[in-house]
């Protein structure tokens, strides 16, 4: 797994982990982002159980494990936060924030660990980074794709962690952390967004919020990072993208009488 510091000013660092060549093939590639401020760390979507050792071994290079004070989960998926019990066992004092809609669901990742989750209300929340003066903001992103979903904005770096928005399923040989060419990157995003984003209205509302925030980078949980002009291109593309209604081949979903009879053992 690679790690890179993409912001480092005034005792504030933003680190990104990803592109793990040793990752088991069946596991979707994820990026884990974390912020270190005054030696305290906040992890955003720390990932699934299967990649926990890789994420942990990289994080140990930057921060004392005991100083991981905050974990935020954008939504409830296993690739986002199924490793939570391991983090809680390792750092028992860590504060975990997740969408209020998913509190009872994420608790299922407990594996016997005591789990106290802090619910993020639907309209967002300012989340303190441990005992430091820094905070990040949970920006509502409901139905993009999960029904209880947030992006996280860090005002010091001016970066936005967008979760699954802007995610791309890259080919194995594509190892660039930043997007090189937006137009050629679309092919890796399009299918993902068409299938996983259920609401065009929700996506458009999110792009309005992001235009207001004006982040310098947009960092998705899968794929590469958007910067400068690419952000505007991306938001424009997203606004025009038709999602939310089934546009696939209906024929694919039809059951033939033969299959149906086999299933029913007729």
């Amino acid at each position: 797994m690679k790690s890179e510091i993409i912001f480092n000013e005034r005792g504030h660092r933003w680190v990104v982990l990803g592109r793990d060549p040793q990752k088991p093939e069946q596991i979707i590639d994820t990026n884990e982002h974390f912020i270190i401020h005054d030696d305290q760390a906040l992890l955003m979507d720390p990932g699934g159980t299967e990649i926990f050792p890789q994420v942990l071994s990289e994080i140990t290079r930057y921060v004392k494990i005991e100083n991981i004070t905050t974990i935020v989960a954008s939504h409830q998926d296993p690739d986002i936060v199924s490793s939570l019990a391991l983090w809680l066992d390792l750092c028992p004092h860590v504060k975990v924030y997740c969408p209020k809609l998913w509190v009872g669901f994420i608790a299922h990742f407990g594996m016997g660990t005591k789990m106290e989750l802090i619910p993020i209300p639907d309209n967002g929340l300012s989340i303190p980074l441990g005992t430091t003066k820094a905070s990040i903001y949970a920006v509502p992103a409901h139905y993009c794709h999960s029904s209880g979903n947030f992006s996280f904005f860090d005002p010091i770096s001016n970066f936005l962690f967008s979760g699954d928005i802007g995610a791309a399923l890259l080919p194995a040989d594509e190892s660039n952390l930043f997007i090189q060419n937006f137009q050629s990157h679309i092919q890796y995003m399009e299918g993902f967004h068409q299938r996983w984003m259920p609401s065009q209205a929700a996506l458009r509302a999110w792009t309005r919020r992001v235009r207001m925030i004006q982040p310098d980078l947009i960092c998705p949980q899968h794929g590469s990072i958007f910067k400068q002009n690419q952000i505007d291109e991306f938001l424009g593309w997203l606004e025009k993208l038709e999602v939310g209604l089934w546009k696939g081949d209906d024929q694919e979903q039809e059951l033939s009488m033969e299959t149906w009879m086999q299933w029913k053992h007729i």
Partner: protein, 260 residues
């Protein structure tokens, strides 16, 4: 490393399997003793129909036999409850082993990056000590570069300490499993005593049945049914002890960090 720890987890799953078998056997004991009770109650009813004094011993014997199931309820319920507890503990052990694996894996990944080729030279020794974090620390610490950042050294020690705690908890829980196996054996001994009593009463019924003028065949049949049930109970008890034996072997292997 992965294989060693996966096999370790496999042994824990083995204990879980033993718990399931014991639970099934406890249910069989319950079922067989219930059948015994029904036969005995029927015997009492039939014996009451025999006029005069010759039915009285059979009434007494049948009545004694019919109480045996109720006498055994605490033992059987104890076994069932114990099995639930056993599955809970083995699940905790399984999760603890998984945690241990994840922490150790993270430490070793980090070591591979930091120490490089030199780390590979010590791989065999590291593999042998994978279930002994203190020994692992002793092997790895001298290999770490002196110039290493204090954060990284701190984290490495922290992870190994956490691994030790996990392993200690795991072993404590396995000790609890061992204690449970001992209590299961005590319970099975009580059931064995009841089985012996049932066999004895069943023999007495057969002797008394021989002296009856009427309904002799009925009580001989009752005695034979009882004999069959007692034999089945004996067989189940033997299976029970075999499973406990297997469970203890799993525990022994886990204690030694070996694979069964």
């Amino acid at each position: 490393m992965e294989e060693n720890l996966l096999n370790y987890q496999k042994n824990i799953t083995g204990i879980f399997g033993v718990g399931v078998q014991i639970l099934n056997l406890a249910r069989s004991f319950d079922e067989l003793l219930q059948k015994m009770e029904l036969h005995a109650i029927n015997g009492v009813i039939q014996a009451n129909k025999i006029s005069g004094v010759e039915g009285k011993p059979l009434v007494t014997l049948g009545a004694s036999l019919s109480t045996l199931h109720r006498q055994m309820i605490p033992e059987i319920e104890g076994l069932k409850g114990g099995c639930q507890q056993l599955s809970r503990i083995t699940t905790i052990c399984f999760v603890a082993a998984k945690r241990y694996y994840q922490y150790t894996n993270a430490s070793l990944l980090w070591c591979t990056q930091v120490i490089g080729e030199k780390f590979k030279e010590h791989e065999v020794k590291i593999q042998q000590n994978i279930l002994n974090p203190q020994e692992l620390q002793k092997i790895i610490l001298p290999l770490l570069p002196h110039a290493l950042h204090s954060i990284e050294k701190n984290n490495f020690s922290y992870l190994l300490k956490k691994s030790s705690i996990n392993l200690m908890e795991l072993r404590q829980n396995l000790e609890e499993v061992s204690e449970m196996f001992r209590s299961f054996i005590t319970k099975i001994r009580q059931i064995t005593m009841v089985t012996r009593t049932a066999r004895y009463i069943s023999g007495c019924i057969a002797v008394n049945a021989n002296t009856l003028e009427k309904k002799s065949d009925h009580f001989k049949g009752l005695s034979e049914n009882m004999e069959t049930l007692v034999n089945q109970l004996d067989q189940k008890q033997r299976e029970f002890l075999e499973h406990i034996d297997l469970g203890n072997r799993y525990l022994q292997q886990l204690d030694q960090g070996e694979i069964l």
